[in-house]
Symmetry: C2
Subunit: 741 residues, 2 copies
């Protein structure tokens, strides 16, 4: 509530002074209204709830220019999507420009905004624009003349595309772009742009650090929280067109009538925004809720059950998206329980959905505690032989790296290795391994690094982006999924800066070729300010943040050294059960002489899973990038790095650099105090303090542990850990969010 | 976000029209500001977050009158509490009156508001008012003359009392009371006015229906959510002065340094508002986190451990309140595990806290599955013999009724039965057994019914209120606890109307003699509107709501017929394990011939636990109130009620009446559409729809079940259940909030 005072003081006049003054009645009314709003609405206004759809008044000079291009709004309002488009434009223009233009049925003045499709809007039809080439979700924004008046036309092939265009137009104004010479043509090759919610029906969010699930299952289907609409608006504004409502560690109950009714209600809220609902299903559902004795995919009764269940769902939700499945992974049931393959399992679900136009998103994230081979190799070993064996409406959902959403991983070798199968990217937006809610880590560069990685599957330039967008192998069914970082926290994501990761994911899902820096700038302007100095410094800070977390947690290719289970904080010393491939020591393999996981030809030979040029580069110490060194090689502490330093010295320097980077980020932010509202400034400032403390903890604990193995001194000028290793080992955190022991 | 549109339309002018008009620059600024605020702040402004501290502009005629009494604010601002008092008055007066008065160091005009204590304010000291008689938290509000100027004086003996007075004064304005002849003297006999949070360290709230715990343990102690301050403001505004942060089913980890640091941070936020923190402790903590072999209260090592732990806590939190303990109850460890008594256990903790001024709140809610005697009798049997055996700083915390927070119970026989022991009332504000978040049930009448019940312990007029406020037995250490209904939901309590239960609890904790109707009116005015017609109809609806839930769930003394474990919905048929006294059939004892739990002299003789006049009244069918009939007596279905109807007919009529009452409540609310903001109106309207549906479900399922036993026809004109009993029995709800199987 402290925000009030700040705002009140920033007013151009002192309320008390004016009270007795000579004011017009209207002025009095407004004055009272303003003060009332200050005393109430604004108290929560800068709590981050608005996300990047923050339509605050632009500077008058800017607003004046835009107003001349927003004299009236001509668009159809027959369908819910058209109405949502109108409402968003009224809200956005009203907020940004001080007032919203009137809605008219036809253009009768210059400066009109014409929105729609050739089919829905006579004005648009009259323009005879060829939008077919833009594809299903594509749109264009350009100047045009309608009935002799200069207008801005926002045109798509369907309603949702027009809504996308409206959001794009508002973003141009929000981010202070010139609209004098508009010629926007936007299209996407990605057909499924999906958020995966790891939300349990209990309300708990697995790996969630922003509160509970936003799905209020108990009150659904009757109560439709207005937040659902804002969720849909936020997603539509960045082109996300699907949401998997429940955790991949699924509960079969989601497929019971009790819950399908609730799912239907949510689908109804999201439909106008072009968002389809999907469900994670448990492979053993035919047994658990179907009363069958088996879930064997080749059993006719099981196949009938899935078909009937699909029919039941589509009767309720005609545009239901399909199923996401985690099978035979980390204890989940699956086709292998019956001696069948993943393809057998996926295809049964696929055939149940096919006639309805639904898809199966089958996860490739599998590894077995009974398989003693390098965990990093298992997904490839399991799935590559199945290339070509999946039904046409199955996508294989592959995590960006071969292990599990680490601060840095080489790209997953499955990308490029299964040309006959549509591979869907799975990114993790929630920061399970990257500092939870409080660490400022902008994931744009991580996503970009993966998407731009060259698989060499079909020669140079066979980037991961081209694999998933279908270009490389000619797939039209394409997709990308992001594990959501959304919860009931007022700011949606646990911190204002985490919102940038949701935003960046959506923008890259639409166009995997975008630059993460450009996206960051867009987001900062929409979310905070167009103050150039502020934008520049905050974007620089964000761009630095990902390398910082790699350095203070797991530099030089180290990975999975986090506290077991909850993944909070450092635990490189942990070798405890229940399974080796869940322990840090399995991954770093450090001892008195050296460190690193030998995945070269002398080791697990995981390198061989990559295309020859990559395999050769990663296999050879002379060519392997420092960033992946310890991922693929076990080397002595005395190993000479390209820098000329020993590995040990280099490692210590990276850990220390990570902490220094956070200190710099913190200083940058402190220098910006006063440039934005006190509420969001203060929260980020406190969180950066937490991040610095935890970065230091990571650095000190890691160095203390590795030093206990190699007995080597720290390079000159580097401070030793302030505590003995035993202290770091003694820390325990019984109730870490996002994890349930 | 729909709220925006509604508000925009309700504006006296059309933004678009004015844009080009002849407006002064200042007017333009304000206009833009208003519209901007409408487009942003107001979008969330009516989401219930403001609770009853909703300082919206009063009608100008009213505001003008008040302004003449709020010309300036003269109060000390040296301490955090004094600053909180100033901030609240500025916020409140600014919101209600359109502008806040200037803060001055001395009175220099008529109409000043003088706030403080004789010690803190020279102006107050000059008034020579005798406030000692008001006691520690008491305050007065009256007209006075300071330095020749007419002022309103808000005076307490200490800072917090003055803060209470400030909240009281703001409430007078909020609720449109005349302040022309102020002579408020408020005092309380209740020393501990506490909220019990059943919040787990995992963030889950046991029996919570408003989201997660508001304590963000992961980010504490660094991040202090602004919501903590609003929590403190809300509590201070109704005189709540203590909060037990964690679940009575306690985890020992709360007493580790990791968590005590976090508790200290919260205590620091609450301190200025006069709120002390307390912790629920696990009796076996000396073993679990102390490394001892035993928790035997008579073991010197155990006693040393508790003393050291108390010293550790008070070193961090000098004004720490004390411990709440659930021992030897529902599986919790306790002194009886070592053959010791509850007094032995309580006194060890008490002696550890005594030197620091802390107290032990020891719960009397005990019953054993190994004790085959009537569960309703066990607490009395266990504790009455211990009267006089507890240390001076121990309070015995007794639930209002002998079973467990049912829609209606007779008062707990322990009240009046332990004159040598301070008995603390435990109410449940969260509606575990009364419809969770969605049912509109105002608990004021329930609280009032219990507090006004006459124990006859010392003759007529020995009310429960006089027992707990110490008057009856001369105790000065007195207390009352309410199990909080607070969570991370934006509206704090899961619905706007649930806020009334938090409010009513606090007002009755301050003064157990208050009328629940008066409190309801106060709350409606502060929360919604002073529109007389609206207030009257909403208060009537609220006053009707508690009898309605009794009727549609458990009429005529029936109790505990809710779904096992989660307590959602009817399950009178449930006779399943693990223990009889958790099953509905244990409580209703219905069969072909009759229904009811015989607690008369012919049965368990629980009646004998009451003072003779009450015992006689409850024991005799001729004198027992209908409301308690089946609580104390097993009677045939054909039993003739006072009404002349048979019990069965009467039961069916009550069930049906409950549903009809909800229908009436719903109609009342629908008739008020447009009287308040659309956002809160719509939510309550939808929730009332859910309540009607569930009330009907309760009625139909209960009648179907009892009819399956007695085979009797329904009275003429009463609709039979639309479904067979098997349907109601088949319903299952795997993920009910507030419960973890």
């Amino acid at each position: 509530m402290l925000a009030i005072t700040a705002v009140a003081l920033s007013l151009p006049f002192r309320p008390a002074k004016h009270a007795g003054g000579q004011l017009t009645a209207a002025f009095r009314v407004l004055l009272v209204l303003v003060l009332a709003l200050l005393a109430t609405g604004l108290a929560h206004a800068e709590d981050g709830y608005d996300l990047w759809l923050r339509y605050r008044p632009l500077p008058e000079t800017q607003a004046a220019v835009y107003r001349s291009h927003a004299a009236q709004l001509v668009l159809p309002v027959a369908t819910p999507t058209q109405q949502a488009t109108r409402d968003e434009l009224l809200r956005g223009l009203g907020g940004l420009l001080g007032h919203a233009p009137a809605v008219a049925s036809a253009v009768d003045r210059d400066g009109a905004i014409v929105v729609g499709t050739p089919a829905s809007s006579p004005a648009v039809a009259a323009l005879k624009l060829d939008v077919r080439a833009l594809g299903r979700d594509g749109y264009l924004i350009r100047h045009a003349v309608v009935d002799g008046h200069a207008v801005i036309a926002i045109v798509g092939q369907d309603d949702v595309a027009a809504l996308y265009g409206a959001f794009h137009f508002l973003r141009l104004l929000q981010t202070a772009q010139s609209i004098d010479h508009l010629d926007v043509r936007e299209a996407t090759r990605m057909s499924l742009r999906v958020l995966d919610h790891w939300d349990d029906l209990s309300g708990h969010v697995e790996r969630g650090y922003a509160g509970n699930s936003i799905w209020d299952w108990q009150k659904l289907p009757d109560w439709l929280d207005p937040r659902y609409i804002d969720y849909a608006r936020a997603n539509a504004s960045i082109g996300i067109n699907g949401t998997v409502l429940n955790n991949v560690n699924a509960n079969a109950a989601i497929l019971t009538p009790l819950y399908l009714d609730k799912v239907k209600a949510l689908a109804g809220v999201f439909r106008p925004y072009g968002i389809r609902v999907y469900l994670s299903v448990k492979f053993s559902a035919p047994i658990e809720i179907g009363g069958l004795k088996t879930a064997d995919p080749l059993d006719p009764a099981v196949q009938r059950w899935w078909r009937a269940k699909a029919d039941e769902i589509y009767a309720l939700i005609p545009d239901f998206g399909g199923f996401l499945v985690k099978a035979n992974s980390e204890g989940q049931p699956g086709p292998q329980d019956y001696g069948r393959t993943h393809a057998d399992g996926a295809n049964v679900l696929a055939s149940a959905l096919a006639s309805h136009g639904g898809v199966v998103m089958w996860r490739a994230f599998v590894y077995s505690q009974h398989n003693t081979d390098d965990r990093a190799k298992q997904a490839y070993t399991e799935f590559k032989p199945l290339d070509g064996k999946f039904a046409a409406n199955v996508l294989l959902q592959v995590k960006n790296g071969p292990i599990d959403f680490q601060p840095r991983e080489p790209f997953n070798p499955l990308f490029g290795a299964m040309p006959k199968t549509p591979l869907m990217m799975e990114f993790q937006i929630t920061k399970e391994y990257l500092g939870f809610a409080t660490h400022l880590v902008y994931l744009g560069p991580l996503f970009e690094e993966v998407l731009r990685a060259d698989t060499h599957a079909k020669g140079n330039g066979s980037t991961v982006a081209k694999v998933i967008d279908g270009e490389l192998d000619g797939h039209t069914l394409t997709g990308i999924a992001g594990v959501a970082n959304i919860g009931t926290d007022r700011d949606w994501n646990g911190s204002d800066f985490n919102q940038a990761n949701w935003y960046a994911y959506g923008r890259l899902a639409w166009n995997p070729q975008l630059s993460s820096r450009v996206i960051a700038e867009e987001w900062v302007r929409a979310t905070f300010s167009n103050d150039e100095a502020f934008v520049k410094r905050v974007v620089d800070m964000m761009m630095l943040s990902r390398e910082a977390v790699v350095d203070y947690m797991t530099p030089l290719g180290l990975h999975h050294l986090m506290g077991k289970g909850h993944h909070y904080g450092p635990a490189p010393w942990d070798a405890s059960g229940p399974r080796a491939d869940w322990t840090p020591v399995y991954y770093h393999r450090a001892d008195h002489d050296g460190i690193g996981f030998d995945r070269s030809h002398t080791g697990s030979n995981a390198v061989a899973q990559y295309a020859p040029p990559i395999a050769a580069e990663f296999d050879d110490l002379k060519t392997i990038p420092d960033a992946y060194l310890l991922w693929f090689h076990h080397v002595p502490w005395s190993y000479r790095m390209r820098s000329g330093r020993t590995l040990w010295d280099e490692l210590v320097m990276h850990y220390t650099q990570g902490v220094d980077d956070v200190k710099q980020m913190r200083a940058t932010w402190q220098a910006l105090d006063g440039r934005i509202d006190a509420e969001r400034y203060r929260k980020a400032a406190v969180f950066l303090g937490i991040q610095e403390k935890e970065a230091q903890w990571w650095r000190d604990a890691s160095i203390a542990y590795f030093q206990s193995l190699n007995g080597l001194p720290l390079p000159a000028g580097y401070a030793p850990p302030p505590q003995p290793l035993s202290y770091y080992e003694s820390l325990s955190f019984p109730f870490v969010p996002g994890y349930r022991p």
